[in-house]
Amino acid sequence: MPARIEGHAILRGPRAEIDACQSAVEQAMDQHGYGREALFAVRLALEEALVNAIRHGNRHVPDGQVDFQWSVDGDEARFDVRDQGEGFDPDAVPDPTEDDNLEIPSGRGIMLMKAYMSEVEYRDPGNHLAMVYRKSKGA
């Protein structure tokens, strides 16, 4: 089994930066034997996490950056996404699965991350997202 693989990136917004991060994580997970279901889950969650941080977290931060740290080993993949915004209260986001909210086009990113990852935690003041995917989840 290969050693733990780690990565760190600073994202400023261009799509190519997100794609590069996704590609590096996917490669590391592949090396550690994660299956197709795991790769799909992590790719979806990371997409939502990174786009949220860039578009929403740093919305009012001129030239804002997103700090992305990750590690993958044989048991789990861990991700930390930090933006430079003032944060937010994730519990205040309306439940998009309620009948009254089904026609609202936005607001599904957080619930998708929670559905596909083993752990999702927004740390105070809400501009640091920590996520874990355990290989056993996809078993």
Binding site: R15, F40, L44, R108
Partner: protein, 119 residues
């Protein structure tokens, strides 16, 4: 006759507007915005449009893409038309179930089944 926009293949099947995605990933915000605009431009002059969207090649989509589908569905409904989605891979279909959007959209296993339902 097919009418190709950059990220979609739009064609007519009898009185149905069939829209096929050409990309495996529907993730990039700019691409998603363009897809929404292309579809709205196509449907804008139509009355009671019958629309089929096929996801045959789509392997990943984001919540932003779901948002665009909801906007398209609202437009179609506003015009008194019908939208059906088809040929969605199991992994993507799960996203619809998790978000309960399977209750919001009419989803068929195949394009043929969707076309039959739209006839």
């Amino acid at each position: 006759m097919a009418n190709d926009s950059s990220r979609l293949r739009i064609s007519a099947v009898n009185d149905v507007v069939r829209i096929d995605f050409v990309d495996r990933d529907i993730l990039d915000e700019a691409t998603i915005r363009q897809i929404g605009q292309d579809i709205q431009r196509k449907l804008e002059p139509m009355s009671a449009p019958k629309v089929l969207m096929c996801f045959t090649v789509v392997e990943h989509l984001s919540s932003a893409a779901l948002g665009t589908l909801i906007t398209v569905n609202s437009l179609v409904k506003k015009k008194g038309g019908t939208l059906r989605l088809a040929e969605i891979r199991p992994e993507i279909l799960e996203v619809f179930y998790i978000t309960k959007l399977n209750k919001h959209f009419s989803i068929d296993e195949s394009a043929e089944a969707a076309l039959k339902a739209l006839a």
